[in-house]
């Protein structure tokens, strides 16, 4: 009886009904198609497909070849942007790696060599010491020494060069937009939806167009990295500027600041600590892009990882991957130290410039000295090749050993998951007839967020179907779905535990922090080695990447439950189990939903990886478009992923909003 009553509640009826119909249709769609001979049931009819991909390709071609803004053509415009980026990039690259020379090819004459590897390490160590203390300095020093000793120096410097360009440009761009939207409510209103969109659109939605506009090479990679890394900086700087106390601004006005002085002498310095948090984010996101960017022409460590993955060269992949990790850790800690830095040492006014900056002088002298000596002693100039160590064979051997001895165990795990979880879910999603799929998504969105959301979801789904991508989209949904499910099953309990126990929290927190510092692709290396290519490997890599928000938000939600609620629960005699289920978890629902939302977004943004391990989803579609430089196809596939992300984001945000209102939170 209770069960019946439970089910016949209208809300539950709706969802159960929707699920049931979908399940039935999914199970019998194939038989239905056979019985009726109606192939359109399972596949969107070819003749109705929109020729959108070709149109976009044509349009892009026109844009690049013929478009003109009167004064200059579009091509001149992209060339101009290219040159802005390319020129400083070449300078940095030359000073880090190749040295400066004039002339071409054979006739090239070296004018000046690159900075010595020792000098670069010295500079970084000095920066770390300046930002914090000797401990950080030695960490940073060791990290970069590692790169030299393990033969990753040159690739690492290529990566560093692109970071050194992408980060300042990203920060400057983000700050500029932040300032504009701080100054003008109109700009803010215009920017907000774009930023929202950027956060939900996975990177490779714009990889192909960028590739097409700027060509294969470092410029494309830098542009993509900047676009990817800039949005948080815009947000951080807008918010930081908006939270400058009104009185401080008034104090500036009363001192007689001009608008320019207000910005540079009052607003930016006061918000510096927060801005530095934004800078740290830009750095981390840029590092995150290292491998993806190498698909469109960034060299360096990312490229090494990518080629190793393609060749299934275990050792090489691990080495380059570790190098990225090491670099990410060093740069992360360094930039965080700068963000937290407080000038506690009293400024020594009155001393001469040299005396006031002993560090700068020492480091400058070391760099110049090494540079001069390096002209004579090559091993000071570049790390001697004979002295490099390689762990490549070690990793390869270890993997071999693991595979020989534990093959059965890994295989059993994989088979278990595939048979009992992944394949059934895949069948379910792939089986859904597209017509019903569109209807079901619209209904769900309508139920959660009103008719507008329903209509939007319906149109987006229709767009995907009518471009012939329904099947791949469903595989995408299935892969992300399974990954998010598993990430939640692991992450939420972990977060709940951490939220209730300080000691667990420190351990879990450290673990999650490390996971987040690692660039996304790095997870893929060991996973592929253990489980080889396929859906299962893709799933594990995505889970590892997307785990963090599930844990974080759960812990946060539990911790934020008002203490009065907990006391009320205690007074009513709740056991700790009841407390969790009846009070803490319901109160934490909005937070859990936000975590779920973030988990889904991260999972979708890892999709291009899945293409590398041979899944047949939208990630693969983008990947194919990339290799064939087919803009139209790439844009459509990218948009489709973006649409899936947007639908998921809006539905879950609406649910979070509703549950917040139900709980009387704001």
């Amino acid at each position: 009886m209770r069960v019946v009553r439970y089910i016949t509640q209208p809300t539950r009826m709706f969802w159960l009904g929707l699920l049931l119909i979908t399940w039935v249709l999914s199970s019998y769609s194939f038989s239905l198609y056979k019985a009726l001979g109606a192939r359109w049931i399972i596949k969107f009819p070819k003749k109705w497909e929109m020729p959108l991909a070709d149109t976009i390709s044509e349009a892009m071609k026109w844009l690049v070849e013929d478009a003109s803004f009167g004064l200059f053509t579009f091509r001149e415009f992209t060339r101009f942007i290219s040159s802005i980026i390319e020129w400083p990039y070449q300078v940095v690259r030359s000073s880090l790696i190749e040295g400066f020379s004039t002339g071409q090819g054979q006739q090239a004459v070296e004018i000046a060599p690159a900075l010595s590897w020792i000098a670069i390490i010295v500079v970084l160590v000095a920066l770390a010491r300046y930002a914090k203390d000797w401990r950080l300095a030695s960490l940073v020093g060791l990290c970069f020494l590692y790169l030299a000793v393990f033969g990753q120096w040159e690739s690492a410097m290529i990566t560093l060069a692109s970071i050194l360009i992408a980060v300042p440009l990203g920060v400057a761009g983000g700050l500029t937009l932040g300032i504009l939207s701080y100054r003008s409510a109109l700009v803010e209103r215009l920017l907000r939806p774009i930023l929202d969109l950027m956060q939900t659109v996975p990177v490779f939605a714009y990889l192909v167009p960028i590739l097409f506009l700027f060509g294969f090479g470092p410029v494309s990679a830098l542009v993509a990295t900047m676009i990817y890394a800039m949005p948080p900086m815009v947000r951080v700087s807008t918010v930081a500027l908006q939270t400058v106390p009104a009185e401080v601004i008034e104090a500036g006005t009363m001192a007689g600041c001009t608008q320019h002085q207000m910005l540079w002498k009052v607003l930016i310095p006061t918000t510096m600590p927060t801005l530095m948090v934004g800078v740290n984010q830009v750095i981390m996101l840029s590092l995150n892009m290292v491998i993806i960017a190498s698909m469109i022409g960034a060299g360096g460590l990312g490229y090494d990882v990518l080629t190793s993955l393609r060749r299934l060269d275990i050792g090489g992949g691990v080495e380059a991957g570790m190098a990225i990790v090491v670099m990410a850790i060093a740069l992360d800690r360094l930039s965080q130290a700068f963000a937290k830095k407080t000038q506690d040492d009293l400024p020594k006014s009155g001393l001469s410039f040299v005396r006031r900056h002993p560090w700068l002088m020492t480091v400058g002298m070391i760099v110049v000295g090494l540079w001069l000596v390096g002209l004579l002693v090559p091993s000071l100039q570049s790390y001697p090749e004979g002295a490099t160590l390689t762990t490549s064979t070690f990793w390869t051997e270890t993997m071999k050993w693991i595979n020989v001895n534990f093959f059965d165990i890994f295989e059993a795990i994989k088979t278990f998951f595939l048979t009992y979880l992944m394949i059934p879910i895949k069948r379910f999603f792939v089986g859904i007839p597209w017509v019903w799929g569109i209807i079901a998504i619209s209904l769900a969105a309508w139920r959660v967020g009103g008719w507008k959301l329903g209509l939007m979801a319906g149109f987006m789904a229709l767009f995907i179907a009518s471009n012939g991508l329904w099947g791949k989209a469903m595989i995408t949904v299935y892969l992300c779905g399974v990954s998010v499910l598993i990430a939640s099953v692991i992450g939420i309990p972990l977060g709940v535990w951490a939220g209730q126990n300080e000691r667990v929290n420190t351990v879990v927190g450290a673990f999650i922090d490390t996971l987040q510092t690692l660039p996304s692709f790095v997870y893929l290396i060991p996973v592929i080695m253990l489980f080889r290519v396929g859906d299962f490997s893709a799933m594990i890599a995505v889970v590892l990447y997307a785990l963090a928000p599930a844990v974080r938000y759960a812990a946060h939600g539990i911790r934020e439950v008002p203490s009065q609620m907990i006391e009320a629960g205690k007074v009513s005699g709740c056991t700790s189990w009841q407390m969790l289920w009846r009070i803490k978890l319901p109160m934490a629902t909005p937070s859990l939903l936000l975590g779920l939302n973030q988990t889904i977004m991260l999972a979708l943004s890892m999709l291009v990886i899945t293409a590398l391990v041979g899944t047949r989803d939208l990630g693969q579609e983008v990947y194919i478009a990339l290799t064939k430089a087919n803009t139209g196809r790439g844009v459509i596939a990218g948009l489709s992923v973006a649409f899936i992300a947007i639908i998921a984001d809006r539905i879950i945000s609406a649910m979070a909003q509703a549950s917040r209102e139900r709980l009387g939170l704001k």
């Binding site: 009185e247 008034e250 104090a251 006005t253 001192a255 001009t258 006014s349």
Partner: protein
């Protein structure tokens, strides 16, 4: 003998809400309080008139939300008044261009803020020198000037500290030094001591009076603390719901409160400190025996022991030294216990 008016503000309104200017026009520039409520507008300042005279300490007093900060920000044109007229040294403040305003603020106005509003990245010295820095004064000169100011507010030896290394009282001293470094004529202080604890607050008030005795600025001082207002003010304007309900000397406020609201404030004030003999004496000097003569400007508090000890009344002298009234122990007791004087 009244001093010239430095800042003249007439019929100033500040209305928040959609289209305030249109709203004001619709009501001929004088909406009533219920007009405002009906239209859903916030009348932060309503028809304010104040004349601030050269060299006086003018205190604006009122409860939280009564519109003091808004009014003072209109006076310094940190915000633009919705309606009204403000003249500064006979120049129309509201008609000034951005450039003229910047110039005016750089040379003639200084302001101290409730939350200190120091720049966290600058040291005490740099904060103090900041207004000179934005004027483009060279570093040597401005540091010399700033050092003087730092000394003036008693912070010597802490020039190289950052704001976060200072206590609240010390931070506000920096705020004061910064606002004075350009030697402004007109000095605004928006609840400068409200964020400090009572002991420090008193100390800072003494400090403030000491500075004013040295500098003779024209001062607009905001507070919600009536004791503070009494202690510091030459004249007080009491605000309520955006309107100025009374402008008077502290003594007049206590003697003749304009309404119950003002009276409520004055109720717990130690009257003996505020009242001068000349305002509480019995007028007229009948022939008779007197214990002696007292200066009419003395506060009741300072004279109380003398008056009480004598068994005869005293004569009270006006500024010219002419006897104009008498005072006895009974009057003093009335003042002390706050019995209504008529």
């Amino acid at each position: 003998m009244q001093r010239p008016v430095k800042l003249d503000c007439r019929g100033v309104w500040k209305v928040y809400g959609p289209n305030p200017a249109e709203f004001m026009q619709a009501y001929d520039g004088a909406p009533s309080d219920s007009d405002l409520t009906h239209a859903g507008m916030i009348g932060a300042v309503r028809d304010a008139n104040v004349q601030i005279r050269d060299g006086e300490i003018f205190v604006i007093m009122g409860l939280s939300g009564s519109g003091k900060s808004t009014l003072v920000r209109c006076l310094s044109r940190l915000i633009d008044a919705t309606a009204g007229q403000i003249n500064f040294e006979d120049n129309d403040l509201l008609a000034m261009s951005e450039k003229e305003l910047i110039d005016l603020r750089r040379t003639k106005m200084g302001m101290v803020f409730q939350q200190f509003a120091l720049l966290p990245h600058l040291t005490v010295l740099q904060n103090t020198a900041f207004p000179l820095d934005v004027q483009g004064v060279d570093r040597k000169t401005r540091e010399v000037r700033a050092r003087e100011m730092v000394e003036l507010v008693g912070l010597q030896g802490r020039e190289d500290y950052f704001p976060r290394q200072l206590s609240g009282g010390q931070q506000q001293r920096v705020g004061i030094a910064r606002s004075l470094v350009t030697e402004p004529d007109l000095w605004f202080l928006d609840e400068p001591f409200s964020a400090l604890d009572p002991l420090i607050r008193r100390e800072m008030q003494d400090e403030f009076l000491r500075l004013q005795a040295l500098l003779h600025k024209t001062i607009v001082f905001i507070t919600h603390d009536f004791d503070e207002a009494i202690r510091l003010a030459d004249r007080i304007a009491v605000m309520k719901d955006g309107r100025i309900v009374q402008t008077a000397t502290p003594e007049e406020l206590i003697l003749n409160p304009a309404d119950e609201y003002v009276e409520e404030f004055t109720r717990h004030i130690p009257r003996a400190k505020v009242m001068r003999l000349i305002s509480v004496m019995t007028k007229g000097v009948p022939e008779g025996d007197y214990a002696g003569d007292l200066d009419g400007d003395l506060s009741v508090e300072t004279a109380v022991d003398q008056i009480e000890a004598a068994d005869k009344p005293f004569r009270v002298l006006d500024e010219a030294g002419k006897p104009v009234g008498t005072i006895n122990a009974q009057t003093v007791i009335d003042v002390l216990i706050g019995r209504r004087l008529t």
